[in-house]
């Protein structure tokens, strides 16, 4: 039962709005007609199998891909709702490295592998003008602690880290600017089961402590159950079912969702 779920903040204003969102490549439609509102502190899981359009949708939502139809709006820190397509590139990039986080499935894509862990975490701070080495290092140190990385490894490059440590470092690197929204693309994919459990637990705690909103793309329904409040099931580029995570997983309505749920191996 989902009574273990982290709290959603009461907030009447949506943080992100998708409205009739779609992306097609010629006649091939990767994703179409997606509309939803995400509220501050809310964790939304997008589930579906490979090719269902969930990764395309994540790229549309995080402004890395421009939509063929519809739009995505985001409430900026000043409270104004802005159409992402209307943002200048500088504004969009600033958003991506301050108010947003993006956790890649492959940490190599989200980290600078040849640069020390401390600098990996500190980079976003320096990018927003932090100019005091001692303070940057202290902040990086406390973030390494929060993601359970031995601070003795602060000067080591992530290429010397294990897969789970890299993923935790990637999370620290993203959260250091206290974003309000984090996109995660299969954050536990490619990790051992025991490592996954630790990472999920960590992410769950951070999301709840920081009141983060998150959009998590995953094919793993267990990840959706542990992390998310709400779930959207995608198939063939469309959202076929949506609702509270435990509702959709315990009482699936659509044939495809029932198939997905029944395919889970018993724990």
């Amino acid at each position: 039962m989902a009574d273990s779920k982290i709290a959603v903040q009461d907030n009447d204003q949506p943080l992100l709005l998708a409205d009739g969102l779609g992306k097609s490549y010629g006649r091939l439609s990767a994703c179409r007609d997606v509309s939803f509102a995400l509220y501050p502190g809310e964790v939304l899981a997008i589930v579906g199998e490979s090719g269902s359009g969930k990764s395309t949708l994540l790229q549309l939502l995080s402004a890395q891909l421009s939509p063929s139809a519809g739009k995505v709006s985001y409430r900026m820190r000043d409270g104004v709702m802005r159409d992402l397509a209307a943002l200048g590139e500088a504004e969009r990039r600033f958003l991506l490295r301050t108010d947003w986080g993006y956790v890649h499935q492959d940490p190599v894509l989200g980290l600078r592998m040849a640069v020390s862990a401390g600098a990996n975490v500190g980079e976003r701070l320096m990018a927003v003008g932090w100019n005091h080495y001692g303070r940057i290092r202290d902040t990086a140190t406390s973030w390494l602690e929060r993601v359970e990385i031995d601070v003795g490894r602060i000067d080591d490059a992530p290429r010397t880290y294990s897969g789970g440590m890299r993923q935790r470092l990637q999370i620290a690197r993203n959260l250091v600017t206290e974003p309000r929204l984090v996109f995660m693309d299969e954050p536990t994919g490619g990790l051992d089961v025991s490592v996954q459990a630790r990472l999920l637990d960590l992410m769950r705690n951070l999301v709840s402590e920081l009141g983060l909103a998150a959009i998590v793309v995953t094919h793993d329904l267990a990840v959706a159950r542990l992390l998310s409040h709400r779930v959207m099931v995608m198939k063939g580029g469309r959202v076929i079912e949506t609702g509270l995570t435990d509702q959709v997983l315990d009482d699936p309505r659509e044939p495809y969702t029932q198939l997905l749920v029944s395919s889970i191996l018993p724990a």
Binding site: A2, D3, E42, A197, Q258, S262
Partner: protein
């Protein structure tokens, strides 16, 4: 739709639920229909009926875990009545956070989290300070005879009975005005069953409205203020 009496915490009318099993050729599996009853503050209503009559399904519908196919599930939430049968996910979450607690038979906790924190979490997520929440969690665990040396361990390593008691502690720690109890005493020994009966009594005195499923006749007799026979809601298959 009838107006809800000012005092009722739960007011269910003509709620119904049918499963459509698409993987079995789309057969329809009617569970319940015409579910109608109310629960007042400080009252414990026990659902009765044979297995498969839909007792658990009704509990899950009240919690918003199962979606309703018809009818209405009125819940008094922060002074207003919310119909969970048609509520937005955010509203349901808000109701669960501030109004309805659910004590299931099985503990579903994240691995690696210490027992004391598993129990304290509902309070912490409602804004109680960690230290105070842990203190109250400790009191409940002690009452339910979970030895202190186990508190720092994740409950996944515990026996079935211990896990259930951890789950009961977690369910009873909050100050929510509605509690749903799904066989809270199954597989407990006599001493712990008595503790649970005591906890339920306390909740009644605190005006908590409860809906319970209990198979043990003796316990049912001890806690029930009213018994609702679910057989009458069984859908004609």
């Amino acid at each position: 739709m009838t107006a809800m009496p000012m005092t009722a915490m739960i007011d269910i009318s003509r709620a119904e639920k049918t499963f459509t099993m698409h993987l079995q050729g789309g057969i329809e599996l009617p569970v319940v229909s015409g579910v109608t009853f109310q629960v007042q503050p400080g009252e414990c209503v026990v659902l009765s009926g044979p297995s498969g009559a839909g007792k658990s399904s009704i509990l899950k519908m009240i919690f918003g875990n199962y979606r309703c196919d018809g009818g209405r599930i009125g819940i008094r939430h922060q002074g207003v009545v919310v119909d969970l049968a048609g509520a937005e996910p955010r509203q349901i979450l808000s109701v669960r956070r501030a109004t309805i607690g659910y004590v299931s038979q099985f503990l579903r906790a994240v691995p690696r989290v210490a027992t004391i924190d598993v129990v304290a979490e509902p309070l912490i997520s409602n804004g109680t300070a960690r230290s105070e929440a842990q203190e109250r969690a400790g009191q409940l665990l002690r009452r339910l005879n979970i030895p202190e040396r186990l508190w720092a361990l994740p409950p996944s390593t515990f026996s079935g009975g211990e896990q259930q008691r951890v789950n009961i502690a977690r369910g009873f720690i909050s100050d929510l005005p509605i509690l749903l109890l799904d066989e809270p005493t199954a597989s407990l020994d006599a001493a712990n069953r008595a503790v649970v009966v005591e906890l339920i009594e306390q909740k009644k005195r605190a005006d908590v409205a409860m809906v319970a499923i209990v198979h043990d006749d003796e316990i049912r007799h001890l806690i029930a203020d009213r018994i609702v026979d679910v057989t009458s809601f069984a859908s004609a298959a």
